[in-house]
Amino acid sequence: MVGKSFRIGLKTGLGQRKLVLLYYLASLLAALPVTLAFSQAMGSFLGRSLIARDLGGHFNMDFFFEYLFFGKNGLATLPFLWLLAALVYLLGLLLLSGGLFAQFYQDRPYQAQRFWADAFHHWGRMVRLGLLSVPVLLLLLAIQFLEVGLQRLIFGKQPYEYIAYWGRVVQMVLAYAGIWIFSLIFDFARWDLVANQQNKTRYSLMAGIRFVFSQFSAAGSLYALFLLTSGLLTLVYILISGLLGANAVPAIFLLILIQQIYMWLRAGLRVGLLAGERELLRQLGSN
């Protein structure tokens, strides 16, 4: 059941090119303003210097420190633009999800007008659902602090560093588990939202929580499979990009291409996960 959902999800993710494109563009467009500001600032600091040529190869730490100090005025707006990018991306994803969830739920092919109509139709509710689920996220993130309490109970206030170290590893695993469980809850809450045209988003949130905990092994396994795939993809990216360090125009263009292909595939996995979840819902007969 999970295997089949994974396969179908993966196939859909790679097949629905227009949806993938939309998700890919969302991250690209959100990241663009801050990137342009950075590029502009760095370009004006570098000017026609030889460093501008050398940076086509490895990054130069002397330059980095000089830039941090002498170019700090140009960098001042970056944190703000980053926050803006995150906000735009978040709202963008919520917008897209209205269209996508509706399309997948009704087993329709992509059709632009319909997609955007659904997207805007559900947008407000999606945002509300998002805000409403923040406490759930915080609660799940707080699970990691159980480890802190337990550690203090068993080992006291200042245990040996290896205990503290591995304790923090456990904390981190718990934090990640919290984030992943939250993603699942949020996904299945959204399935409920589009399925029932739910206006009371808290009911969807409850439905999402109920579903994830009642079908934890299936939903969790599916999510883990996609996580694993994403990890493998990242590993492959790291291996390939490591080969493209040369300071030569073809290598640079190839690197840029590989980076964007990676982001495209990431978008594909995102769409694929949702398709897989849809398939899982179908198989569990709760469509």
Binding site: S27, L28, A30, A31, L32, V34, T35, F38, S39, M42, G43, F45, L46, G47, R48, S49, L50, I51, A52, R53, D54, L55, G56, F59, M61, D62, F63, F65, E66, Y67, L68, F69, F70, W82, A85, A86, Y89, Q158, Y160, E161, Y162, A164, Y165, R168, V169, M172, A175, Y176, I179, N247, V249, I252, L255, I256, Q259, Q260, Y262, M263, R266, R270
Partner: protein, 696 residues
């Protein structure tokens, strides 16, 4: 009037030199003027974190004056309350560690000081009941706190004792000093105790240095280290029997006391300080390299890094002995501070240093290695060459930061000698330079430690800027000459108190050139150095119009009226087969000295046919101009192409190219884009940075 020592004082001196030596001597002949000699019997009270000590100080007046008073450092009083000079200056925070304001305070109290006029042997003096002994003058009533640096009446870190009768030149004084001290908890500013661990530094009443200008005995400041005279130390440390003890010098003996404790006897010669540490938790490792025994005292949670510590310690010993000179002491102890007691880490005492690490520290983060190499370096730059850290901190910390960077580079270079982790590579000297460029012009390097603009400025001018300026000097003189400078400085001034002028003298003498122009700017001014390439054009020379064109090109440019003064330099190459059909380019490049610091520099000019011209500019004028009329274009100009002048704060502006090279900007832009996309998509990856934070 010249003082002639009496026969009695000569006999007395003879006796004094004999009485310190009940222990087997380490060195057949004294290596230093043994001016300040201590025998201390100290008992550690683990529950109270207190020290109960009896000290016999034998001090020689080697000056040409009769001395009417003595001055002592009582360093632990810096932590007495929040109104001491140290606490006011530091705000209670030292190197990121905060003093525990509830119960962390420390102090030292001398409850009796007597002058032993008719000394017997040291051990009888230690055991005598002072108030009943004959030939003893009680000085306790004559003690008073003074504040020579800032007049802060709440500061009790300097004690003055008026002598009832001045101490004649060549005479010696024997004092018995009884004291109690409480150590800061947890350790703060290098010293203290925490749980079962104790690190005692700056823990006993310590006499100042009598110089040609009188007593040099500064208060304990936030931004300052120490200054002391050499001597012999015999120290008996009584701690619980299960404690492992490490200390300056060699352990000669350990005896069980009737109370079931252990009394450890350490003996050190020709050192100017003494520190010790004890803990029942220490795990001991031993090894040897060259003629030095190395002993590691590791915390149980760091034993997996013992190998790392040992390798670094051996490398430090070997590099220093191979490069700079003999380490005369037979041993070195490296102490790993306890968790929660890192305030005692990263510090140096004669033959005893403290490091500091964290469980899980990745191999590529070589902070442990750097700190061990650094602290061992102090065995040379402070313990052999006992400069005044209060007044010229760079002589210790600065030279030491320079040698640390050189050794790190030799061991782990050429790239990423300090950090080589997840693709990030940073060299030690790059770190130093990054700090230097940000705070280059607030203070001169040489200045009393507590008078800098800020703690950061003290740090930059005592550590980073000297490392950068000495590396610049090394590139200027060449490695071999610089090495000879360092070796001569070590061999000439070991076991003395060298000054900045001594270093400058050696550098000039060994290099065979007067280097005062360099040191005046580098050490005694706030001048900054920044060369830049400011202008570059290359354009076609117009088709001949008007009068006799050939004449113009074949003339020297000076004759053509283009020379605007002595500042400009023109070079032109007109090929033999030049004809009116040859396309010629007029190229002009200008370079500037933007800072006030003048330093000779190489300039490189590259032409489109591959020709490369090198020029050497003395950097005296504010700018220099290059003009060429050649059949090829001038493509790039670069000041200091080998980046030899680390003092140049901005290397990015050192070059100009005719055409822009967008590919570097393109690559970094897309890397930035990718990183942003990636983190937008998977912000949870940021959580992984917590793994790294474990190390700190």
């Amino acid at each position: 009037m010249k003082h002639i020592p009496s026969i009695w004082s000569l006999l007395f001196m003879l006796w004094l030199f004999s009485m310190g030596f009940s222990a087997q001597p380490i060195f057949p002949k004294p290596l230093s003027p043994r001016i300040a000699n201590y025998t201390i019997d100290v008992r550690y009270l683990p529950e109270l974190k207190m020290l109960n000590g009896k000290e016999v100080l034998i001090w020689h007046n080697t000056s040409k004056e009769a001395i009417g008073e003595l001055q002592f450092h009582l360093y632990l009083n810096a932590f007495r309350n929040n109104r001491t000079t140290f606490m006011k200056e530091s705000g209670g925070v030292h190197r990121g560690f905060k003093i525990d304001e509830k119960k962390g305070w420390g102090f030292i109290e001398i409850w009796r000081m007597v002058w032993v006029r008719q000394p017997e042997d040291v051990y009888s003096i230690l055991s005598m009941v002072t108030e009943k002994s004959p030939g003893v003058t009680d000085l306790s009533d004559r003690m008073e706190f003074i504040q020579p640096d800032d007049g802060n009446p709440e500061d009790k870190t300097v004690l003055r004792v008026q002598l009832p009768k001045p101490l004649a030149p060549g005479d010696s004084i024997v004092l018995r000093i009884d004291f109690v001290a409480r150590l800061p908890q947890p350790p703060f500013a290098r010293t203290g105790a925490w749980k079962e661990y104790v690190f005692a530094g700056q823990w006993f009443p310590k006499i100042g240095v009598y110089t040609a200008k009188g007593w040099n005995c500064h208060q304990f400041h936030y931004n300052s280290e120490f200054f002391a005279d050499f001597g012999v130390y015999d120290v008996f440390i009584t701690v619980p029997a299960d404690y492992v003890v490490g200390a300056t010098g060699l352990e000669y003996d350990v005896q069980q006391t009737p109370e079931g404790q252990a009394r450890h006897y350490f003996h050190a010669e020709d050192v100017h300080d003494f520190a010790w540490t004890a803990s029942p938790e220490f795990v001991e490792f031993k090894d040897r390299t060259q003629d030095v025994d190395i002993r590691l005292l590791m915390q149980p949670d760091h034993v997996d890094q013992a190998e790392r510590h040992m390798r670094a310690a051996k490398a430090a010993v070997e590099h220093f002995q191979n490069w700079y000179g003999d380490y005369p002491f037979p041993n070195l102890t490296v102490v790993d501070p306890r968790r929660g007691a890192r305030g005692s880490g990263g510090m140096e005492y004669p033959t005893l240093i403290t490091a500091g690490t964290a469980y899980g520290m990745p191999q590529g983060l070589r902070f442990v290695e750097a700190v061990i190499i650094h602290e061992f370096g102090h065995q040379f730059w402070y313990h052999l060459l006992a400069s005044n850290e209060f007044e010229e901190s760079w002589l210790d910390e600065g030279i030491n930061s320079y040698t640390e960077a050189q050794i790190m580079h030799d061991l782990y270079g050429p790239e990423g000698d300090m950090i080589d982790f997840l693709g990030l590579k940073i060299n030690d000297i790059q770190f130093q330079r990054s700090r230097y460029i940000s705070f280059a012009d607030l203070d001169p390097v040489v200045r009393p430690a507590w008078l800098y603009y800020s703690g950061t400025s003290y740090g930059v001018n005592s550590y980073s800027r000297p490392a950068v300026l000495l590396t610049t000097l090394q590139n200027y003189l060449g490695w071999n000459t610089m090495l000879k400078v360092m070796q001569t400085y070590v061999s000439r001034y070991r076991f003395t108190h060298p000054t900045s002028q001594d270093f400058i003298k050696v550098a000039s003498e060994v290099s065979g050139q007067d280097l005062s122009w360099f040191f005046d700017q580098a050490l005694f001014s706030t001048r900054t150095l920044d060369y830049s390439a400011s202008y570059l054009i290359s354009k076609k020379v117009k088709k001949p119009q008007g009068y006799d064109f050939t004449l113009f090109v074949k003339q020297t440019l000076k004759e053509a009226g283009l020379d605007t003064g002595r500042i400009a330099t023109y070079k032109q190459i007109v090929p033999e087969d030049w004809s009116e059909d040859t396309t010629l380019y007029y190229s002009e490049a200008r370079i500037r000295r933007k800072g006030q610091f003048r330093f000779p520099v190489d300039v490189q000019l590259v032409f489109s046919n591959g020709d490369t011209l090198r020029d050497h500019w003395d950097g005296q004028d504010p700018w220099k101009k290059y003009v060429f009329i050649r059949p090829d274009r001038l493509l790039e100009v670069q000041v200091d192409p080998e980046q030899k002048i680390l003092l140049d704060r901005n290397w990015t502006n050192n070059s100009l190219t005719l055409r822009p090279y967008p590919r570097g900007i393109l690559k970094q832009t897309f890397r930035f884009l990718f990183a942003t996309q990636f983190l937008l998509d998977q912000p949870e990856w940021l959580g992984l940075t917590r793994l790294l934070l474990f190390s700190f």
